[in-house]
Symmetry: C2
Subunit: 223 residues, 2 copies
């Protein structure tokens, strides 16, 4: 059968850029590295954040902004590690935006933060469209989601500075070709760093930690 | 640490309801059962559709509307089974809407269809907010996504007539409690049918097929 393709354009973007710029200026003033972490629901953002806190605690002053449609489940987990955390409930909205981040920044002691991790809402589409003012865009794609996702959600993969291929501990049970996936990502975004990891077992996380350490150094050395 | 909760309301819904109603009238006129299938990216919507086509072929005249931000990968797979398929590329939008479905309906031979399966965009949030005119809302939640999702994405679980717990073939490798998940869903939505399945191995699919068979009978018997 032949396939009919209908392309329907919709403008779902607001004027968000100016506010994102102001957020960036604010965190820059305090020499904070701000990272926007994005993925599908359940891909492992919170696990990655918890591992990262444990690795950098004592050396780096971390704070977290948690974005969810509802619940404080993730913020509860972060809070147990004695790290400042703000939960944003978007009340239905499928992504964080610069305005929400500004309200969170206004509720944090910025002079006591080196690294600010933002866990965006679980969503592979809208989150990539709304700038928050973050210095780096980090995304997770988990093995069970499949290696075809760069073709279906190209914007996210184009915007990401780092792509973490998470849940590599279950690679034997899924048809996921890491090489084919990496090629597809590089085709869209040649400068993206790709790190295969398991936020559950810790496998591969050292590459992510050292990338992050470098980025923190660059930002805080502007002091 | 104490957690601050900011609730930020945003109106992302358009006036979609009237158009959805018109779609419903159109498919009712042709005694078509229209099903809206929703899930996160990579949860197994396409696999479920392919299994369903194979099971009902010969008895039930099926057509498919595929919704994706980009690509025709899923429509290509459906098309190989010699079933009429329309690919909608939303060009960035995170969900299908009633307007898009109307355009697709206008491109299908409605008098030759008993069952119309709509594969919505991979997204656990926005898709639940936009009525398409479908008779039934079906969602998939795959085991690797975690059993906490009803708390984080309550609207989807509240709207669903059927919740398929997909990828039960990998249950041994994930911390997913099917009973806890089912309880959480029933708490939000006591009338939702919950079917644990593997669209890959076929396990559990008979319960889904027989639910669907019943629903088709009810709709086509209005002829």
């Amino acid at each position: 059968m032949s396939i009919k393709v209908l392309t329907i354009k919709e403008d779902i973007l607001g004027a968000n850029e100016e506010k994102a710029k102001a957020n960036r200026e604010l965190v820059d003033k305090h020499h904070i590295l701000m990272i926007n972490i994005m993925s599908s629901p359940g891909a492992g953002k919170t696990s990655l954040i918890l591992q990262t806190i444990n690795r950098f605690k004592g050396k780096t002053r971390i704070a977290v902004i948690e974005g969810d449609v509802a619940s404080t489940m993730d913020a509860d987990k972060v809070s147990k590690l004695a790290v400042p955390v703000i939960q944003i409930n978007t009340a239905g909205a499928c992504h964080l935006d610069a305005n929400m981040i500004r309200k969170a920044l206004d509720n944090l002691a910025l002079e006591q933060i080196d690294l600010l991790l933002i866990e965006n809402v679980g969503n592979l589409i809208c989150t990539a469209e709304f700038a928050l003012g973050a210095h780096k865009q980090v995304m997770l794609l988990s093995v069970p989601e499949g290696d075809d996702k760069p073709y279906k959600y190209p914007l996210m993969f184009t915007e990401a500075d780092v792509v973490l291929v998470n849940k590599i501990d279950v690679l034997p049970y899924f048809d996921f070709n890491v090489n084919a996936f990496s090629k597809a990502v590089s085709g869209l975004n040649p400068s993206a760093k790709i790190f295969p990891v398991s936020a559950k077992t810790g496998e591969g996380l050292e590459a992510w930690f050292s990338w992050l350490e470098n980025a923190i150094k660059q930002q805080t050395s502007t002091a």
